[in-house]
Amino acid sequence: METLIFLIFAALAVASSLVVVIHRSPVYATMSLVVTLFSVAVLFVLLGAPFLGALQILIYAGAIVVLFLFVIMLLNLQKEGESAGRRRGQIWVAIPGALIFIGMVGLVFWRAGAPDLQPLTPELVSLKGLATALFSDYLLPFEIVGLLLLVAVIGATVAARRAPDAAEGTGLPPREDFVAEDTARKEARS
C-alpha cells in the first residue's frame, strides 16, 4: 500500500518537475511546480512528518508560488525564445553533468546496500516533540531565522521600489533608449 502511494507520487513529482524545467511558458512552469510541491508534501507525510507536509503546502505552494505568479504577471513575461549562438552549448554540458551526478549517488547506494526504513515511532510523528526540540535546543536558530525574515522583508521592499528619481545614479542608459536599442538589436539579429 505504502509502496504504491510512494511510486505514484514519486512518478508525479518527477513528471511535473520535468515539465517545470522544459516548458517554455513561465506560467505553466509555475503551475507544474505546484504539482511537484504537492507530491513532495505527500511524500513528507509518508515519511512521518505531517506537520512539514502541511507547512510545505502552506508556505511553498501557498505563498512562494503566489509570489512567483505575481511577479510574472507584473512583468508580463512572455514565452522564452531559443537560446542564441554561443549559449546553445550549455545544455550539452548540463545534461551529462546531471547524469553523472545521479550516477554517483546511485553508485553510493549500490555499494552500501538498501536498508529498509525504520518503523515509525509516535514521538517522531508528534508535533509536540518537534515543537519541544525547536524551542529548547534550537531556540537560537529559530530567533535568527526570524531576524532573517525581517531583513528579507526590508531588503525586498527597498530593492523593488521605484528609484526616487528615475534617471539618477544607475549609470545605465535610460529605459527609453534601451528599449530602442533592444528593438534595434532584435532587428539586427533577424
Binding site: 518537475s17 513528507f44 512528518a49 512567483f68 512583468l75 518503523p119 531565522v145
Partner: protein, 102 residues
C-alpha cells in the same frame, strides 16, 4: 512495516535535484531559473526528512523547517531584485544581463 527502502527516497531526491540543476543551467528566463532552484531546495528537504525518519531524530525535520523559511526569504528578495533589474533593463534574459563581462 513499510517496505520502501530509504535509498529509494534518496534516489528520488537525487533525481529531482538533477532535474532542477539542468533547469537552472539551461533556462534563459530568470524566473524559470528560480523555479528550478526551488525544485533543488525541495529535493534537499526530501533527503533531510528521509534521514530524519531513518535515524529517528527530529533534527532533520527542524532543518527542513529552517530551510523553508530561508527559501521564502530568498524568493522574496530575489524576485524584488528581478523587478529592479527589469525596470533598468526591460529584460530578464540572463544572457543579456552581462555587465560584468570581462
Amino acid at each position: 512495516m513499510s517496505s520502501v527502502p530509504v535509498s529509494w527516497y534518496l534516489m528520488l531526491a537525487a533525481l529531482l535535484f538533477a532535474i532542477g540543476t539542468v533547469g537552472a543551467l539551461t533556462r534563459r528566463n530568470g524566473i524559470s531559473i528560480f523555479l528550478s532552484i526551488e525544485l533543488m531546495l525541495n529535493a534537499a528537504n526530501l533527503t533531510l526528512v528521509a534521514f530524519s525518519r531513518q535515524l529517528n531524530d527530529h533534527t532533520g525535520q527542524l532543518v527542513v523547517f529552517f530551510v523553508m523559511a530561508v527559501a521564502a526569504a530568498e524568493a522574496a528578495v530575489g524576485l524584488a531584485l528581478f523587478i529592479a533589474v527589469f525596470r533598468a533593463r526591460r529584460t530578464i534574459d540572463v544572457n543579456r544581463l552581462n555587465l560584468m563581462r570581462g
